[in-house]
Symmetry: C2
Subunit: 185 residues, 2 copies
């Protein structure tokens, strides 16, 4: 394929414009190396994310319903969250988020892979972790800004649920592709 | 599975906080219906996006290298862009972006599906369009804020390229899952 012939865009200046709690908005002034023109580019600084694909011993997937403020609708999702505990690995974060959001304890954990969720405006990573042999050990531990309902579905139903529009969360759907790549190895 | 038991979070107020050109930052004050607590929630308002998976008659995929300001790195991606032309369908946008960014003209177009790229903070849609029998008909039409290099790769190599970290763009990787779902039907 050959390597990229595209050059980096040098940054002339960079400043934080807005603090939105889970992300900060940054404005950079950058130079297009193709024509030396200057451009204002906005980006979001935020923690890395972990998404966990949790399976029970009988190949049910543990899903959550929650209200999402971007779409202003209830979404059906795999559990996950921000890696905002210092020193935490993706696997540790997956185990913690799974327990908090669903009351299930993970058996074995496998880091499936990582992506840039939106390179155009975000520099953070999305880690995908498979959790097998998950067992219900507790209730949910929700903070006062959360409201979550847990549901199970057969893993084999996921492609149908995606096609039917029951799952529309793009980052979650991406995780199922990583699971397929993992199982195909 | 049963329907969600999660209730909508009513919005007490909503105001635009920052105009970042391709997106606007909105602050909503919302109520958690589980405990009536009030919360500030930030979201991004922006146009829908189209991503096109372009194939040549001999099953090569047409990819682009471009510098991305979120990651501040060169990314290898399928072409795509904002649906910012009034009245344009996802297929029309796919055809336009493919021609502008690669100089290839699409043969047949199929809308594979649509997702919410990040329901937590975005309400917009990401449409995925398959373009087959693409043929090189022109050079690139880049605006002064773009710098793009086109490359071809065998479609069969995509899973290896994802695993090897040559493609890390999560939204792009999600599109390949939609292509697999389509071909499996």
């Amino acid at each position: 394929m050959g390597g990229p012939v595209i050059q980096p865009w040098p940054r002339k200046s960079s400043e934080q414009k807005l603090d939105c709690r889970i992300f900060k908005v940054r404005k950079d002034v950058v130079v297009n190396p193709r024509n030396n023109s200057l451009h204002d580019m906005y980006a979001l600084d935020m923690d890395n994310w972990v998404n966990v694909i949790p399976l029970t011993p009988d190949q049910q997937i543990i899903l959550i319903h929650q209200w999402r403020h971007g779409t202003r609708s209830v979404q059906l999702e795999t559990p996950g969250g921000l890696m905002d505990h210092p020193g935490e690995t993706p696997e540790e974060c997956a185990r913690r988020e799974l327990l908090e959001e669903t009351g299930y304890e993970a058996g074995e954990l496998v880091h499936l892979g990582s992506v840039h969720p939106n390179p155009a405006i975000q520099g953070n990573l999305q880690h995908y972790v498979l959790a097998t042999n998950c067992r219900k050990v507790a209730g949910l531990t929700l903070d006062h800004a959360e409201d979550i309902a847990v549901t199970l579905a057969p893993l084999a139903d996921i492609p149908r649920m995606i096609r039917a529009g029951e799952i529309t969360h793009g980052i979650v759907i991406g995780g199922f592709y990583w699971l397929e790549l993992h199982r195909r190895k």
